[in-house]
Amino acid sequence: MDTSSPSAFVNGALLGRLAGRKVRTVVQVIGSEIGSVVGKTTDDVQIFVRGSSPAPLTTYVEVIGIAESDNSIRAETWTNFGNTFDPQNFNELCKLANGEFKHLFM
């Protein structure tokens, strides 16, 4: 496991706090523009994921990249997470990983 550049689990609310950092999130794809994908985070925030996405994308996609602002990520890695992902569980994971269990995460 590469620990040199850890990526923090984020949802929409946490994204803005980590601008400039490497982050990891899962979005529900709701549209795409040239050079970016419009996604909904697990806490219902609309964000832009920049970079060249692989095609086709499933309903849920995990992206790892640099947080640019509170509503955009420059993605380096895209992973299709399928169509039956549970956003609530992921959202709780983000909260715990940045809250009570922060010490367990990098």
Binding site: Q88, N89, E100
Partner: protein, 550 residues
């Protein structure tokens, strides 16, 4: 403009409540004297406020205003007094009246700690068991019962020690009593959910008289049933009454309480005309006594109506209702509501889908009723050693399947509506003989009797899987595997089928019971349900554990 004068002359008033809250919302007419300015019509008067004294009381029920001839007070002594002058103290009337006149019957709703003498006439709606206690003051015993009167007032009565001996055998549920004297204490709201802020402690001078004549004006029970759809929006810990048709009854499971005591829990499902269903959790004694009766009824395909008096709403994972010590259950009661529900259920309600307001934390497998254990806990906790089997769920991976014998030849004959399934043996005439049916059949059935090794992060163990769970584990009917191995003798394909069934993770519901084989005691574990792990619901389950441990 018409001016309406209202003049009320009150004769022969008697103070029952020297300090009382204002009841209702009295207003003064503009024409009344200047003192009306002192009276705040909309404010409630505190108990300890000496300035205002109102003894507003409901009239006693017809014909029960007991006035003794010994009462020396003239019958219609006019006692017109200026408004709000403190009324004369009752005690000043002297000892004659105090000791000899029977107290007036007042509604339960009018009882308060500041009354000297009172009597209430009420029906016993519930009677608690006698409990012994031990505290700093020593040993003691206590019992309580609940009363309901014709005005719908309810109150709990508690007796201690010697008073218990006097009244415990006298009090019977459903009977009407005339009760007098006793002290009023604030109700202990955590145990007492009656609509009354007081409860009565009977004393040595208290009297409890059985009213032999049935008083039809006092209902036997007072319910305010809430439809299940209402419970969905009820707050956590709300105490309420409900009624529904029992559609399923889970087995009773032992539960370890936080204080280390073991109790039992049983989950039922109820539905009603609101189109909703709810889980009801029976605890302790309810689980065995009423729970077993309900289970038997549902097993024989009769779905009883269940009314619950004083159930407690829980919002742990959706909404559900649980029993508390003061709850009462009524199975197929003779209420109009029960008859209406029965009618609804029998004429279509049975087959209408109801959405449950109780969310299963684990829709993928098991439910809140399950007791999750790790494999090593089965041995460590000595599961299966008590009288009744233990039912637990393990999340485990199948690591080995015994294949030298995995099924048996079963009797296909029907006994009633069930297949016999006893082991049959081949006869000399190529038939299959069943010892139980004492009959031969041309064909036999092949049913799984599968020995499987399961493993989790704590250890491994052997379990037995019969037909349905065996099929779930092997992914095909026993007959198919039997044919492959013994008739086609295709060992290669057989081995391949077995191999691909290994190393899958399941939620396995196990029945664990120690059985004796001759002198030997062996803990037998049977797989009663096999569910593939649903990662969404499993994550939810783990998340729930995690958050609750915070």
């Amino acid at each position: 403009m018409q001016i309406v004068y209202r003049l009320i002359v009150v004769l022969n008033m008697e103070t029952i409540v020297p300090h009382s809250e204002t009841i209702g919302n009295p207003t003064m007419s503009a024409e009344s004297d200047t003192e009306s300015g002192n009276f705040p019509p909309t404010n409630r008067v505190a108990f300890n406020e000496p300035a205002f004294q109102h003894s507003v009381n409901k009239a006693p029920p017809r014909g029960v205003n007991i006035q003794s001839p010994a009462n020396s007070t003239p019958s219609f002594r006019p006692s017109v007094q200026p408004l709000y002058q403190p009324p004369p103290s009752y005690r000043n009337h002297g000892p004659i009246m105090k000791n000899e006149a029977p107290a007036r019957i007042i509604p339960i709703a009018a009882l308060n700690p500041y009354q000297g003498r009172w009597a209430i006439k009420a029906r016993v709606t519930a009677k608690g068991d006698m409990r012994r206690y031990n505290n700093a003051k020593g040993d003691g015993k206590v019992f309580s019962f609940d009363l309901l009167d014709s005005d719908g007032g309810e109150i709990r009565i508690t007796c201690f020690n010697a008073v218990v001996d006097r009244f415990y055998d006298v009090i019977e549920v459903g009977k009407v009593y005339l009760i007098s004297k006793g002290s009023l204490k604030p109700a202990q709201k955590n145990f007492n959910h009656l609509k009354n802020e007081w409860e009565i402690f009977l004393e040595s001078t208290s009297t409890v008289e059985l009213c032999p004549d049935e008083d039809g004006s006092i209902p036997r029970q007072q319910f305010s049933f809430r439809p299940i759809s209402d419970i969905e929006n009820a707050e956590n810990n709300t105490i309420l009454d409900m009624i529904g048709v029992v559609t399923s009854v889970n087995p009773s499971v032992p539960i370890l309480r936080k204080n280390g005591m073991e109790t039992h829990r049983r989950i039922l499902n109820l539905k009603d005309e609101s189109g909703k269903a709810v889980e009801v959790t029976l605890w302790g004694e309810f689980c065995n006594r009423d729970g077993r009766q309900l289970e038997e009824m549902v097993e024989s395909a009769f779905y009883p109506v269940l009314a619950i008096k004083a159930g407690k709403v829980s919002d742990f994972s959706g909404k559900s209702v649980g029993t508390i010590s003061s709850s009462q259950l009524f199975i197929d009661p003779d209420f109009p509501e029960a008859q209406r529900l029965r009618n609804w259920f029998d004429h279509g309600g049975k087959n209408t889908a109801s959405s449950s307001i109780s969310r299963d934390t684990m829709p993928g497998g098991g439910s809140r009723n399950e007791i999750r254990k790790a494999v090593s806990q089965i041995k460590e906790e000595g599961l299966g050693r008590s009288d009744k089997p233990d039912w637990v769920t393990v999340k485990a991976t199948i690591s080995f399947i015994k294949t030298d014998s995995f099924c048996y030849t079963a009797c296909p004959l029907m006994i009633g509506d069930k297949q016999c399934n006893k082991k049959v043996t081949r006869t000399g005439t190529n038939m299959w003989l069943c010892d139980r049916c004492n009959q031969e059949s041309e064909e036999c059935d092949y049913r799984y009797l599968l020995q499987v090794q399961i493993q989790d992060h704590t250890g491994l163990t052997w379990v037995t899987a019969f037909q349905e769970s065996g099929e779930e584990i092997m992914g095909c009917p026993a007959k198919q595997l039997y044919t492959l191995k013994y008739e086609l003798q295709n060992d290669e394909e057989f081995a391949e089928i077995v191999r691909i069934r290994l190393f899958h993770q399941y939620l396995l519901k196990l029945k664990i019971k120690e059985e004796s084989y001759g002198d030997e005691q062996r803990v037998k574990m049977t797989v009663v349900k096999v569910d593939k792990v649903n990662y969404t619901s499993e994550s939810k389950y783990l998340l729930d554990l995690l958050v609750r441990s915070l």
